[in-house]
Symmetry: C2
Subunit: 328 residues, 2 copies
Amino acid sequence: MTIKIGILGYGNLGKGVECAVKHNPDMELAAVFTRRDKESLNILTPGVKVCSVQEAESMKDEIDVMILCGGSATDLPVQTPEFAKCFNVVDSFDTHARIPEHFEAVDAAAKEGGHVGIISVGWDPGMFSLNRLYGNAVLPEGNDYTFWGRGVSQGHSDAIRRIEGVKDARQYTVPVEAALRAVRDGENPELTTRQKHTRECFVVVEEGADLKRIEEEIVTMPNYFADYDTTVRFISEEELMRDHKGIPHGGFVIRTGKTGWENEHSHVIEYSLKLDSNPEFTASVIVAYARAAYRLSKEGAAGCKTVFDIAPAYLSPLSGEELRKHLL
Amino acid sequence: MTIKIGILGYGNLGKGVECAVKHNPDMELAAVFTRRDKESLNILTPGVKVCSVQEAESMKDEIDVMILCGGSATDLPVQTPEFAKCFNVVDSFDTHARIPEHFEAVDAAAKEGGHVGIISVGWDPGMFSLNRLYGNAVLPEGNDYTFWGRGVSQGHSDAIRRIEGVKDARQYTVPVEAALRAVRDGENPELTTRQKHTRECFVVVEEGADLKRIEEEIVTMPNYFADYDTTVRFISEEELMRDHKGIPHGGFVIRTGKTGWENEHSHVIEYSLKLDSNPEFTASVIVAYARAAYRLSKEGAAGCKTVFDIAPAYLSPLSGEELRKHLL
């Protein structure tokens, strides 16, 4: 009996989920749902149907877990509660400040429908959150550090693209090596935004554009760039396509803390990710949690959960015996 | 309402648990139990009683979780099942090959007594196991690497001490930097025992001892040293006390794996620990899981569990709302 997965939304993340399902023999892709014209969509998996989002509800018996691959700004706040009424769902809602209200909405809907909804799955929120929690629980007296990068920030790249005269752009978030080193050395530094990350922008401009003005607009942009040391490099469209096609990302979660009767011993816990493809890795985490959603639902669970609420064994296709024998 | 902790066995680990309880305001130390003469034992926490192990059963209503701090060779295989009949228990059983039988024994006893027993808690098994499981679940096509060190191996130090003419010794397990680098670079190397770790031995000898014979006995010792590149340095007792008094340890769990339709993207997940005190860190992990044992028991759970079976939220003193707000 394989776990039947539905994908709602076929952008980078949806495609990543499709690939991740292929890597998990206990799962199969049941259908991809889209708001676009379904005839125009070519998916990778042979023999799997593309359906319009309106067809989803009528297919609820064919799908064990629906994976919601929309954006956190406008899609997921609506979709996840809506679909949790009819399906077990997993999403990657990543607007940290709005997680509490999203949780409440999904919890009510999932309980109403008798389904499991797992929200905010991926690497941050997701694997990074887990490591923050484990680190805090194990070393209650200590400091937390999260660094992101080196990697492409989609939001920051988009912000640059909206500037007049810009044709295309790619923004990399880069952790400051000296800050990382100070944290690892247990110095427990207090770090400002500027001291933690720098931002590198690769920008393609339209012919005759005013480079000086564009650079100025970027580096002074509030929220996005003003609080950072930002480097702008103008490159050709060919260079952008050649050198900046990928969507790499990654980062570090570090917990430093003390133990001993008089806090005489120091410890450093570090978790890091180096990812060639941000959406494919996010999708891989989501698919592991889809397995958990399926199992929890089979056990009769209902309601909203996060990575904090799910015992690790639920993520693995191996039995308890196998896990204890091979991974403990 | 604080969680009342009992400690059985007051060696380095027991002392570490005592310190960890001090760092967790929702816990208090109820008593320390010993097989030694209880009058001879001086513990750090003022006002807490030292009892003989025979008194434990009569005090079961005063203790929420009993933490078993004995050794894996002979103590825990007997003690954990025995105490699981009367108490919620946590141990750090670390003989990987015998975990399945230990699990069965503790599971039967804990179910009989209606208690929760969490076994094999610490960092390996423990936090490292968790990271192996999460890594395997998220990247099903990949490779696992565990490196230990740089740190003191008690078992290897003891093995050297048993050689004739040796007064004292300290053995460090050291990961091979080149192997670590190859793994991090995603080369997926196949590594022999010798390629992963080296062993450094600091040895104090009795006057007139035959250094050449001792070194030969060390480096050729089967299981312990013969399969490794081993360095032996003879030092004075003063140097040993001055430079090698601590019990540092640490290590790395790395999962490398592929995603994408044609496995075209590589990812590296790395978890590492740098610990000033191996027993105090182990104790800190145990105490977080004691919180989980207490809560699970309050919910009516019974039987044996490992770190794989416990949702992360159970480890934290914070509520679900607080966790979602601050750590997700």
